[in-house]
Symmetry: C2
Subunit: 164 residues, 2 copies
């Protein structure tokens, strides 16, 4: 293989979510390709938002996904770049603000996302920075946060789907 | 209370992630405010990415968070807007593309995000569309995806933190 060969691959996931109980949400999440794997998840709200607290909050899953995605790519790319790492810890923090007028549903907006890494390694600072840079570019979730995405919403009306 | 009163509230989560085994990542996720709640999560990779498959993939958590966040706000705001809903199902699908040159770490980029809703209700189409619109604006994760975020990365070097 030529070192300059360019390979492209696609990754797709889907999730089917069902409304259960007061605010509980049960989900089947599937990796569709390049491999096929399926998992079950459940979220719930706590009493302050009308739920029964039977499962983690939706945003807790988001936090776990965002943080573990960077961690995974950091470890995978350290190996690929042959930078020896003894240990790594990541602290991620996300803040949002929500605004509510009278009794209207509130509107939310993100305020900050930060990732603090503690890396134990005998490698040089430049080598570690190179791994972090590769992990940021390879992290599927960070790359999604780094751009403005268009989320397409459709509603089924009779036998048809309409854009909403 | 005056209906035009404007209230603002902050929401913050954090996550501490530790590298375990080959590619396993163990996490403590905390809601910091307005309430304090904590959960434990673990992610892993499967053999095709050098892991042992002991826990879901990082992106699976992201999918669960994104889908359940919209589901939760849909149900919460249907109640607040007094729109009766018998049942709701959401199908979410996300695609990415990754590009790799030779043996370099690959770079990933998002391709599409879609949300298909099936709502069982005797309410009018306009009422249901109003709830979906409110849910989209209230969903903390969708609102994060709708804008270009700046993710701050820091690395601990000795006793100091440097921007990376």
């Amino acid at each position: 293989m030529n070192d300059q060969d360019i390979k492209t691959f696609q990754v797709a996931f889907d999730c089917d979510a069902r409304a259960v109980g007061k605010m509980r949400c049960e989900m089947d999440v599937r990796l569709l390709y390049p491999e096929k794997i399926q998992w079950e998840f459940a979220s719930d709200e706590y009493s302050f938002h009308g739920g029964d607290g039977t499962a983690p909050l939706p945003i807790a899953y988001f936090m776990a996904g965002l943080t573990s995605c960077l961690m995974t790519q950091f470890r995978a790319f350290a190996k690929r770049l042959k930078v020896k790492i003894k240990d790594v810890n990541i602290h991620c923090e996300c803040e949002w603000e929500a605004v509510q007028i009278g009794r209207e549903p509130y509107e939310s907006s993100p305020k900050s996302i930060s990732m603090d890494l503690i890396v134990e390694s005998d490698s040089t600072l430049d080598e570690i920075k190179k791994v972090i840079e590769a992990a940021k570019k390879g992290c599927f979730i960070e790359q999604m946060m780094n751009k403005q995405n268009e989320i397409k919403h459709r509603l089924k009306v009779g036998d048809n789907w309409i854009i909403v």
